[in-house]
Subunit: 377 residues, 4 copies
């Protein structure tokens, strides 16, 4: 695997590297870790990558690796840059024959997302998107319970993703993350929407298996001098008639990383909280409340197969992330053996990435129209 | 105290009686416990009320008690009937010189609510409304923290009130509560809105001290054959610029009585859950998460004064309810001594009742307009 | 009902009165509320008791009430004094024909306890002991699950009762409770043992239905100048071969009132925490963890019959206490009708009180012998 | 790093490998993964290890690697075999110049433990023991709070480690773990004592910084046909006068992996639960209860430095394990550079391993003496 972005001091680059390594299926062999050539090479050194595969920029990396013999060159490109630098390397890598795994939101613009979907289709390469939270065993259990009809028909969804790290003007300090996240040139038209709203949107569609039809979004920018949203309160309508709310915020003072979801069907419901991810609370109409745990009693194989250690030994964010990398790597291996890509991919795909961009665009549009209903398309 | 409604088999009548008795300030001396005269009298007997003060209907009770010597007659009328029978006895009782405490929502229609407010003003009698949840010590602590500015300026509110008891067609069985609640002649224009939405609305305004300005309500009726809403997803805008969501449901399968609220200010936030009412979770910008308990370390007198037993000895719903009755009784005693009514009443008032009706009407109006924004007025 | 002790400023007297009133079965008609005659009468006044039934001391109360016509005099004596004043009024009241409900521990000495058991038997009066925690619906559910064999054979019990209010030298201030609790003349030979250890012991025997056979108690006195234990760590052996631990403390800094128990059988286990009493966590060998709630799905009638309000409306300490009073009052009413006393009483009895005293004596004896095993007898 | 044991199908071998890889400081280069030579080599292949470094047994591995040039050979030996196979390879590896990291309990017998301590001292090599739970950030926070005196003087410790996986006769099935754990030839004289009791003992001494002085252990063997303990209830006395309880079990039906500890000092207390490891509950005498989170507000550097991702992104068991490997690897690197070994090692050491064996021996001795007090020595 070669990595684009994620140089020294990057939070998410390190997460991707750890996640990729946990299951021992992926080796990091090269990288263009920074837009600054010197820093890129220094980062590569620190990571123990051979000097000749420490590249100055992504174009160089992709060109030079593509020129190497197949058995020596990288097979996967991992993109962990700010949003505006997702599409260009993804396009080039796919077209040069590499499989791509990319951070979210997938692209800077909706146009790019549509274009990328075409490129993925045309090239036939494997494309993965790191909506981390779908990798948690209890999220997979929730999804499978819905799939199997345990909850009956879905009627209601309440989801929130609340952080407080931007409650004050952190972007004016030396918080690198904050500074590019408030910059529409690097983030796109969504602020909190792009950073965490897309996770919430993806989680809703992942666990219910139902697409969001339209939304009514009341967006706010509480931080002085900001131009992008840092808070949103959103009504949801799903394609099957289910309804719901979404609350997202990066100014929810005191919150760390509270992504939570409750889904109600005709027969029962579940509730999951990312900050305590190893519990899935299930309420059926006629039973006492039940708490499922990873690999624990009553879990479906579609969940239990994704735990690495026995019940009661907590797994966390890195393991959820690793699960995406592992599933992606398995698919890549399958394709490398000459087999066809699977119909259903066990990780977020380019289609999910496009949904995320449609969500951002619909939300921003609705926000401008005083929270009128806007379809995702 | 005399009671109207709440005869044998009534849930809420028994709650009111227990709540009124806990602090030993109020005696039940008479009642018109049922619209059926026989049942009314049987109920009175069972409650140990003397035969001559077991009345056939509320008119008889109010007339006859009013005719008794002042030191013998009831001083308070407690109204615990279905919604359509709130206004007529309240009006008559106030006009005949009695203080009134009434279940919520305050009236059947918005018109009645406005009328009742005038009657309360004109008669100078004490009027209380039993929005139970404001009686919990941790709700009072939350309110005081906002009052004192601990949280800074309020920016965001997320509230939900979720029950599952109407997830199936309970109104077709012998559930008396369900049958009148789905009947607009007895409930008014709101279903879940009136029964639990008004509690959520009142809680928001109580803890923040800020009025809701406008709402966008997406109402649903999932139960076949129902005409009133049994679910709602609502956007909130408060008068100070804060925004939020409200999710209410009586078809949230598996839920018991989950009223929960999170409020975010510029300096910190809190979170409270009715089903575990003796914890208030507080998150300040620079501190570890804190859990306050009734009468426990760090609670303000405005909260601690409302506990009856030492920290660690849980109080519950009946005690919260009793707190309303106690505060109401204190005010009545003050007025009976000839003093003026307090400017600020320590229990929900006729003004709160009017807000609740305005909320129902705005929500129903918004719902008809595809969740367009509607002001509460 | 007449009350002995519990005058103005008393915590537990007020609890008894509220508990007795909640279900409307018991009226407080007289009292000897203080060892100080003046304070006794002042307390009676404040409670609205007629002057002629405000007694100077318990002897006067019992004598004079006994001399009244049967239909006028009190039927029950409630004893809420410090430990050394339990036996004398209990004995006199029973012998004069009154039923007695008494706070715990039952007596000052083991001798008194044995004597009292004989008196109860001889007089045929109803005697109840207020081990409050057995009144919680979830404790009753736990007990019934064991009774029905749901957990299989019991193998292990871990119980703790931890408070922190004596972590500092509160007895040197004006804390009346603390000052008599550290005084062996008023408390007896046990400190924390008597105050909270007996609750823990009773809870173990109540929920398992199995007697404790022998204990090995390592007692400590951390508070300077104290002579009684304020902390204990104890091994348990039950009569069926089950084993366990008990940890009790009143110097557990920061704790409020944490009585918790876990019981393990061959088929499953449960866990209950008094500070969050409306949840019973049940773990069966092959099922996900389940959370039972009062009156909620899956609860047995032997538990659900003890809730007063619908699921999701929390009940607390006062309701648990009230449940004891209600069951006691029912039994008294039955006996007053001339029926025989029930074989199995639905509240803690004189036999439980004796067990508590045996526990204290065995623990103190073991403590002196460096935690050697001592039988309860 | 070379690994001894942990071949295909091993739970703990995989855990060690993942833990060693997460921080990218350690490469697995060789192994003797099974006592069966064929399986050893097959395991190596599956792990991508070169054929010539897949060894038939540990003697071969150590001899051959020792014969390789220093810059090519393994530097660390990781021992993940059943207990009886800890000492022989540890001794050989140390004497041949390798650093050793070993699973717990450290040895089969107390004699071996004492001997191993001498060997470590003599050889000057780095020796680490994988008491995983000390690697959790919240355990480190707890320890630092005690170190800094935040809790005052420690008075009381309650610890339990409860599992239910041996509640039934799993050793009669094909559970390899269970079968060697019940075999004293492979496990030593302790059953649950060795497997989980040593973790509990180590956790007590780690967080308090105080040694356990003596214990009174009531051991049980509930599983039919077993010869080793599967349950224990133990009194603790620490060297500073603190007291406590320890409850351990592998027959606690329904439990997964509940290691929990509460520590009480004169000024405050904390509580931690392994199954929800990212919360540390702290109760100070005059403050509301506080919940610390990894890297969150108020955490000390001695804790926060051990998190890999921002607050609110849960870490788990593998990360705690990885922390031990990382600290061990740092120490190895320091020594390899020619520097002296640190006075205080940031991971469990041979001294901790000896304490664990002393604990097992004292507990078994006490158990035989009907839970008499026995010193750890």
């Amino acid at each position: 695997m070669g990595m684009i972005g994620g140089g020294q001091g990057s939070f998410i680059g390190d997460v991707h590297r750890k996640a990729a390594s946990i299951d021992g299926m992926i080796d990091l062999v090269c990288g263009a870790f920074s837009s600054n050539a010197e820093r890129s090479i220094a980062s590569a050194k620190a990571l123990g990558i051979s000097e000749k595969r420490a590249y100055k920029n992504f174009e160089e990396m992709i060109e030079k690796e593509a020129a190497m013999p197949e058995e020596e060159r990288m097979d996967i490109v991992s993109i962990v840059t700010p949003n505006h630098m997702h599409f260009p390397p993804a396009k080039l890598a796919l077209e040069k024959g590499f499989h791509v795994i990319c951070d979210k939101p997938m692209t800077l613009t909706l146009e790019e997302a549509k274009e990328l979907q075409k490129i993925v289709k045309k090239t036939g390469k494997v494309f993965g998107l790191t909506h981390t939270y779908t990798g948690y065993p209890m999220v997979k259990q929730a999804r499978e319970m819905v799939n199997k009809g345990d909850l009956g028909e879905i009627r209601k969804v309440n989801v929130h993703y609340l952080q407080g790290w931007m409650a004050t003007a952190v972007e004016n300090g030396d918080n690198k993350q904050a500074s590019w996240r408030v910059d529409p040139k690097k983030s796109g038209i969504g602020g909190a929407l792009g950073d965490i709203g897309t996770h919430a949107e993806n989680l809703v569609e992942y666990v219910t298996g139902i697409e969001i039809d339209e939304i009514a979004a009341d967006l706010s920018t509480f931080g002085q001098g900001r131009v992008l949203d840092d808070d949103g309160n959103i009504l949801l309508r799903l394609k099957n008639g289910a309804k719901g709310t979404m609350s997202i915020s990066q100014i929810a003072a005191g919150e760390e990383n509270d992504l939570s979801i409750r889904v109600y069907g005709t027969k029962g419901s579940f509730e999951w909280h990312q900050e305590n991810p190893n519990e899935l609370t299930v309420r059926m109409l006629e039973e006492p409340k039940k708490i499922y745990t990873p690999g624990g009693n009553g879990t479906y194989p579609a969940s239990a197969d994704y735990t690495r250690i026995p019940p009661g030994h907590p797994e966390g964010y890195l393991e959820a992330f690793a699960t995406l990398y592992r599933s992606f790597a398995k698919e890549v291996n399958q394709v490398k053996k000459g087999e066809k890509q699977s119909e259903i991919l066990d990780f977020p795909t380019v289609a999910d990435g496009l949904r995320g961009m449609q969500f951002i665009y619909a939300a921003v549009d609705s926000g401008k129209k005083n929270a009128a209903w806007v379809s995702l398309k």
